[in-house]
Each structure stands twice: as structure tokens, then as C-alpha cells.
Amino acid sequence: MATETLTMGKALNRGLRRALEDDSKVVIMGEDVGKLGGVFRITDGLQKDFGEDRVIDTPLAESGIIGTAVGLAIRGYRPICEIQFDGFVYPAYDQIVSQVAKMHYRSQGRLRIPMVIRIPFGGGIGAVEHHSESPEAYFAHTAGLKVVSCGSPQDAYTMIRQAIASDDPIVFFEPKRRYHEKGVVELDTPLSAAEPLHASRVVRPGTDATILAYGPMVRTALDAAQAAAEDGRNLEVIDLRTLSPLDLGPVFESVRRTGRAVVVHEAPGNLGLGAEIAARVTEECFYSLESPVLRVTGYDTPYPAARVEEEYLPDLDRVLDAVDRAFGW
């Protein structure tokens, strides 16, 4: 089996390339996805090799990108739409929430919109406003969409291919600050043999408390677990991977063992993923919990200026602080 060490960005690129090769109906659309290869180079080289009809530089209008992709999907295409940055998805919100999410339902299953909406998301890159948002809760709250996020190069490669192959409309959140982190990627595992797209996964087994994370915070959670281990605390880390539907079976199992859970995400806490997870974990593990499910999240402010974002974002220390609080409850 072929393995290669790839950055997450390159892994995504390879996954997209595979999808373009495997299915002639797959097309990529977005701003600057052609010659430039996208501002993050995730589509690098693809237009050159697959042509302007398969990798389409679009006019600068996000509603147009998603709206025309709906039409292409009705025509039988499988569009992959790139939204350049998290903060620029909102002009397309109506098309996503009222059209993409509902077409299958409205048609009573007669129509499928096998669309993937790729969104580089999250902060920590020192960017100006609108370039560091974590809007996943908006989409996870929307019935009819599925939402996933990858936390490693391997998952990036596999999950993007699974998402493209899926007939469900999927919002695919890419942790942009992890684009440059490397990992070994197994390239040839058939999709059928890979872990399912909508499954969470224990990425570090442990016994004392359960840390839940996704996307950019998986690395942070693992680092925290590493640090805690040095202090003699054995944390289990679960990469949620699928944000809607959530796959909480492994979480319940874990929390019943550990009795404590901390959810970590960059998005504001108020009505974020952490709220839903806390509510459900509490309901399912009521008599196992030694402390309430705690949340380590972005604060309930707009994303702040870059020079203060490190204070805004959850980090190793804040995760460990929450674990301490859970133990001290």
C-alpha cells in the first residue's frame, strides 16, 4: 500500500484529484480555484490537468457559486464548492439553508444534491477580520445538511473523498491553521474499507476524563493530553469528525468510564457544538457524571483582532484548566 508523508493541504489536494479522476461528473467551483489553485493552493494544478470545465473559476459571488452548483447538481453533476474563507460563506447562506439543505426533502427523495461545500475555517493564523471564523454551528443546526471536519492529513484525504462520493450535501470544514501540519497518509485504502465518514473516533485512549474536539482543536486536545500525562492524568481524546449528525456513541461509552467530559472548540460557546454535546451527554450519562460537561471555547464576542486572538482561542492551558475544574467539582 502506498503511503506518503503529506501536509493536510496536500492531502486534500490529492483527495480532490482522486475524485476528479474517479468520476467525470465531479467539478470544482469557486473563486481563484483555477490558475491560482485557491488562496491556500488546495486545488493547485487541478485546472491545468482537468480543464476549465472541471475546475471552474467563478464570478465573485458566493450565492452564485452555491446557487449554480444546485443547478449543476440537478443536471447530474457533483459540485465541490470552495468558499474562500469562513467569513465569506454568509452571502450563500440562503442558498445553502433554504435550497441545498431542503431539495431532497422537498422532492420526497426524488432529487439529490451531492454537493460538498469546502470551508477553510478557524483562527490562529493572524488574519484580518472575517478570515478566522468558526461558523459550523450555523450549519449543524440546519436539518438536511451534514457537517464534518478533518483533524489529520489522513482524515483530510479520506474524508474529502468520502464526502464527494456521498449523495448527502456536506459542509466540509478544513482547519486552515493545520494545512501545513504533516502526517503519514495511506493513499490506496478503498473508501469502502475506510472508517465511515460520519463516525467519531478515539484518537488517544485514556481513563480519567474525556476530551472532545474536532478540526483544529484535535491537535490542541492531544497536546493537552500529553501534558496531563506528565502530571499523571490519563485523558481520553475523541475526534468528533462528524458534527452533524454527531456520532456520540463512543462519547457516551467513554464518559460512562471517565465520569468527566470537556468539549473544546474555537467557535463561541453560546449555542455552539459544545452546548449540544453537553446536553446529550448529560441526558445519556446522567448518573455517571462526576461533574457537569465543561466547555472550552471561543468567547461570545466577535472574533477579535489578530494580536489578541491567542487569548480568545482555546489552548492547552485552558483545556487543562477545565480538566482541573472538572476534577475539583
Partner: protein, 398 residues
């Protein structure tokens, strides 16, 4: 009547062209400032052909039977529409969006579609669906509240109704881009797309983005705007200060205004635009200048925002009356024919009524169906919970 037979001496209407931009709507004049393409006057006089400012000549070439068919279409869709309004009044529909007054625009454009063409309607194009040969009951699920469209756009070559104003114009454009990508343009039997929308919709960002997209990608598109003078209560002046068809020029493709109460002109202009599109010549905007004779929907009260005399003045331009006059003048049809058409329309309407009343209510648990092609364990659990809950009530059968 074949082309060229009619030489009725109607004054040729002003050709479409730039207006002074000051007054876009003169409700009491037959012809709006800026003119429009008209082949049939309100009195039922037919001109052979009309040449627009851009040099395009429009005419129709129907057999007698086809002329009578257009009449039958219009009468039938009006009759069905009246039945729907009655059904709503009787509580059998949640709401109804009437096409009254817009029969010519819908039948003309609907009949102009070729088999391979695809239509993206709003919520008012019952007449277009009818012309596609679709069972008239199809849109009633939505208005009765038993479903939300529930048909396969590709089966009928008509997308589901779209209620969010303007959204479908982008879908249509994307579909049309797909036609280009499939290599299905550039010949006489290429495919084309028609997107319906209203005068109000012309203000939505989505519609203007669709103009941009279709121009940039030279999509085989006809943007068919039924300017029925109102967006609910708001007159056209709230959306534009110049005639709507001129919008297209700013995006680099032709716009043409047609008398939307003239079924022949509506047909001719739409057919020409569709054929341009299928031949690879790109998009056209057609503004069908017409009038919504009834309320916006059955919940609307138009007396709050428009005066009776305006409605009256438009009655004189009724699309069916004028076509009937034309058929009579040309002795293409007689009273017996008109009576037969009415009777048949009536029968279709009563049959429809019966079937609407029989439409089954959805089963409670069906609300969980078809959220995702691949399903969701989360929803399966919710469905099971609901089933259990319903079971807890005596005698429930869900």
C-alpha cells in the same frame, strides 16, 4: 391560419427600444412607454410580423388546430385556476397563487419550450406546467399542504416550485452551464433553459448574479420575467426606474419586452430566445408585460393598494378574450367550439377537485423521510421516539 394570411390593419406597435426612463408604466395606455412586441391587438387583430429595434423579426406560423390549441390551453388553465381559488376558499387548500391574467404569458412561453428544454418556475407557473403535459394536480400538494413539491425535476423537465424569491434563477443558470459542459448547445436541437421570475424578483441579488453568471458562461438561458406590475402590494416603481427588459443590456445580453397578454407574441419571442440559447448564442431576458388580475395569493387584499379602475383598464386587454376575438374574426372557431372548450375545461377542473379532495394527508412519521439520501442514525432515533410516543396514545395508527 398560416403565416402571411392575416393582413389585419392593426397599427404596428412601437418597437421595443430605450424609453426616456422617466415613466415605465402607463396603466391606461395599451402600449407601455418603450413599446413591446405585439402580434395580436386587444381587439383580436393579428399582425403578421413585427420587427424589434434590434432588427429581430417576430412572427408565428401555427396551423389552425394549433391556434385552437392555444385557446384551449388558456381557457383550461384559467378554469383550473378558478377551481383552485374556490378550493382554497372552501378550506381545501392552505393558499393559492392565482395566474389570472397571465395565461398568455404562461401558455405562450410554455408552448415555446421544446421537449428537451428545462423550466425553472416560481410558484405561479401552473400554466407552464400544464403546457409541459403535466398532470394539473402536481402543484396542488404544495398548496394543500400535503407535500412541498415532491416531484422529480428531471422527470418532467420542470423544477419544483421555488418560493424563495429569485433563488431558482441561479439553479437554472447552473443547469444551463451543465448543458454547455455536456456539449448540448450549438445546434438546432440543443437544449435550453427557461427561468421564470417576477418583476419584484428582479431586485434580488440572486437574480442579478444569475444574469452575470449566464453572461460570463454564455449559458443557454431565457430569463422570462412576468412583469405583472406588482410584487404583492408594491408597484413596479419600487423595483426599477426604467423598463425591466433594459436590465439585460447592462449585463451584455439582449432584453426584449413582449406583450404578455398576447399569446402569439409571447410564444414567438420566447421561441426565438430559446432557439438562440440552444444554438449557443447565450442568454436573453424576456419581459412579459402583463397584469395580475387577481390577488397576490388568496390571503392578499389588493383593494388596499390598487384602484378598481386600473384593474378595469386591464380587463380590456384580457389575453383570452382577445384570442377568442381573433379566432372568431378569422373564423378559426365558432360558438360550438368555445362551448366545447369551456365544457371540457370544466370537466378537467371538476376532476381535479375530486382528486385534490382525495389527496391523502401525510403520515406523522413521514416527516422523517428523505431528510438525507443516506439517512441519519440521529433521525432514526428521533423517529423511533416519536413512534413510541404516538403508540402511547390509545388507538393511534401512524
Amino acid at each position: 391560419m398560416a403565416k402571411g394570411e392575416s393582413k389585419v390593419g392593426a397599427a404596428r406597435p412601437p418597437a421595443p427600444g430605450p424609453s426616456d426612463g422617466a415613466e415605465s408604466r402607463i396603466p391606461n395606455a395599451d402600449v407601455p412607454a418603450g413599446g413591446f412586441v405585439q402580434l395580436l391587438t386587444p381587439d383580436g387583430d393579428h399582425v403578421d410580423s413585427v420587427t424589434a429595434a434590434d432588427g429581430t423579426t417576430y412572427s408565428v406560423d401555427f396551423t389552425d388546430e394549433e391556434y385552437r390549441g392555444l385557446y384551449r390551453d388558456m381557457v383550461t388553465v384559467r378554469r383550473l385556476d378558478a377551481e383552485a381559488t374556490a378550493l382554497q376558499r372552501q378550506g381545501e387548500l392552505g393558499i393559492w397563487a392565482s395566474l389570472l391574467g397571465q395565461e398568455a404569458a404562461q401558455v405562450g412561453s410554455g408552448r415555446a419550450l421544446r421537449t428537451q428544454d428545462m423550466a425553472f418556475p416560481t410558484y405561479r407557473e401552473h400554466g407552464v406546467l400544464y403546457c409541459r403535459g403535466i398532470d394539473p394536480i402536481m402543484p396542488f400538494g404544495l398548496f394543500r399542504g400535503v407535500d412541498q413539491g415532491a416531484w422529480d425535476p428531471n422527470e418532467f423537465k420542470v423544477n419544483m416550485y421555488t418560493i424563495v424569491i429569485g433563488a431558482q434563477t441561479l439553479h437554472a443558470t447552473g443547469y444551463a452551464m451543465g448543458i454547455n459542459m455536456d456539449g448540448k448547445t450549438g445546434t438546432d436541437d440543443g437544449e435550453a433553459v427557461i427561468a421564470y421570475f417576477g418583476d419584484g424578483a428582479s431586485s434580488q441579488g440572486d437574480v442579478n448574479e444569475a444574469f452575470i453568471w449566464s453572461a460570463v458562461f454564455n449559458a443557454p438561458m431565457v430569463f422570462f420575467c412576468q412583469n405583472n406590475q406588482y410584487a404583492i402590494s408594491e408597484p413596479l416603481e419600487r423595483q426599477t426606474r426604467i423598463p425591466l427588459y433594459q436590465r439585460a443590456a447592462g449585463f451584455g445580453f439582449p432584453g426584449v419586452r413582449v406583450d404578455g397578454n398576447d399569446v402569439l407574441a409571447s410564444y414567438a419571442v420566447t421561441r426565438h430566445a430559446l432557439d438562440r440559447a440552444r444554438n449557443g448564442e447565450g442568454p436573453t431576458l424576456v419581459e412579459a408585460y402583463t397584469y395580475r388580475m387577481g390577488a397576490h395569493t388568496t390571503t392578499d387584499d389588493p383593494t388596499r393598494y390598487r384602484i378598481a379602475s386600473e384593474v378595469e383598464s386591464w380587463k380590456a386587454k384580457d389575453p383570452i378574450a382577445r384570442f377568442r376575438a381573433f379566432l372568431g374574426k378569422q373564423t378559426l372557431a365558432d360558438e360550438a367550439f368555445f362551448a366545447e372548450v369551456d365544457a371540457q375545461a370544466n370537466e378537467v377542473a371538476l376532476n381535479l377537485r375530486e382528486r385534490v379532495l382525495e389527496m391523502p394527508d401525510p403520515k406523522p412519521l413521514s416527516l422523517f423521510d428523505n431528510v438525507y439520501p443516506n439517512g441519519s442514525p440521529h433521525l432514526d432515533a428521533q423517529r423511533d421516539q416519536m413512534a413510541q410516543y404516538l403508540d402511547s396514545f390509545e388507538g393511534s395508527a401512524h
